[in-house]
Symmetry: C5
Subunit: 98 residues, 5 copies
């Protein structure tokens, strides 16, 4: 899993039937580098399965495992938000969330 910040959302009307009712969030991955959380890599569109919203720091899962939440079961989905992050601790210190 990776850490990300929810930065927006994606609207699609003409889509696969399994996407009906799904909340599609745009998330920006973050990594820890030099003791801080820093932007890294490409923005991803992930299905929300935990009630996440814009501005929150989340944990997301990719690949076939993204289908193992109640919200995404058997759907053609390859990224899902599985948790809202309260804290990231590195070497005893709590990092500032983005």
């Amino acid at each position: 899993m990776f850490i990300a910040k929810v930065i927006g959302n994606v609207v699609s009307t003409q889509k696969n039937a399994r996407f009906r009712g799904m909340k599609l969030l745009l998330i920006q991955p973050y990594i820890t580098k030099e003791g801080r959380l820093q932007i890294s890599g490409s923005s991803v569109v992930a299905v929300d399965s935990v009630g996440a919203g814009v501005g929150e720091c989340v944990l997301f899962t990719q690949g076939s495992s993204a289908r193992l939440t109640p919200a995404t079961k058997d759907a053609p989905v390859d990224a899902v938000i599985v948790g809202i992050i309260d804290a990231v601790e590195v070497e005893g210190a709590v990092l500032e969330k983005p």
Copy 2:
């Protein structure tokens, strides 16, 4: 999933039998960066499952989940278009589509 623009198509006559009748589109991934949608990464060949066409902004799924649409079931396919994007919203603003 990632955001992409449909930029072309691929024609193949000699191919796996499961590809018969599939529309193979060439898509260019985009990511959000500095508040805009920007080209990122390699062009991908994806099967269309939602009636997408050249010039449209789409959502695509990769990996084993790409087989979970009616168009791609049990096929040796690792990328599929699952939605046509109406809007990408970042921090309250609707981004210009590529």
Copy 3:
């Protein structure tokens, strides 16, 4: 899927039993960039499932979907050639094949 050119082959005698009789081709991925097909990324060893040969432009599939051809069923294979490409069209123009 991605576009690639078949550039060679790999010979292996001591190998997993499921690889017996498989044709292992070395392929170089290409992407579209600035209206042309350009080399991109690492060379890959892919199983041929469509009768492809050196010099041909092909379509290949990666990951678990690579096992869904008659040639690769249930084999420990993560890349397979699924089509020989006749043409790649971008914005109405047919690109020159590598």
Copy 4:
């Protein structure tokens, strides 16, 4: 699998039900380069399945295989720690662990 060092942990209260009781560790991948173990790539959040702790050098598995430990069975998990590394040997020499 890749080599990593456990550098911290992630706390999440609002999460997928299958994550209850899981220990989420933040790990930094390392690769061998010029005869040494060096930091490489993005930090990853992995589930612990072997009793690993901060500061230890571990082996981790990604993708669907990450669900094949007792700790992660059927969970929407894409990274798991599967071993604590005692030694990495390259060309007869034991490398210094990070």
Copy 5:
């Protein structure tokens, strides 16, 4: 699949039960570039399924397909050596092995 050279091994005592008896080799991927085999990308820890040893040039498989050898069945493994490479031929020439 990718080409790699076996450069070392990894020792782990405290590990997932399915790893008992597995030989964990450290491998360095190689790609073809400018008509030669060159180091590319991160070193990987792969399970040996064909009797490979340090110094040999091998073929390895990643992802869920890595579980489809007798040595790795149902194990939380994402990389496995599936063949020892005798020769890599590019445009009629046999490349020097690393």
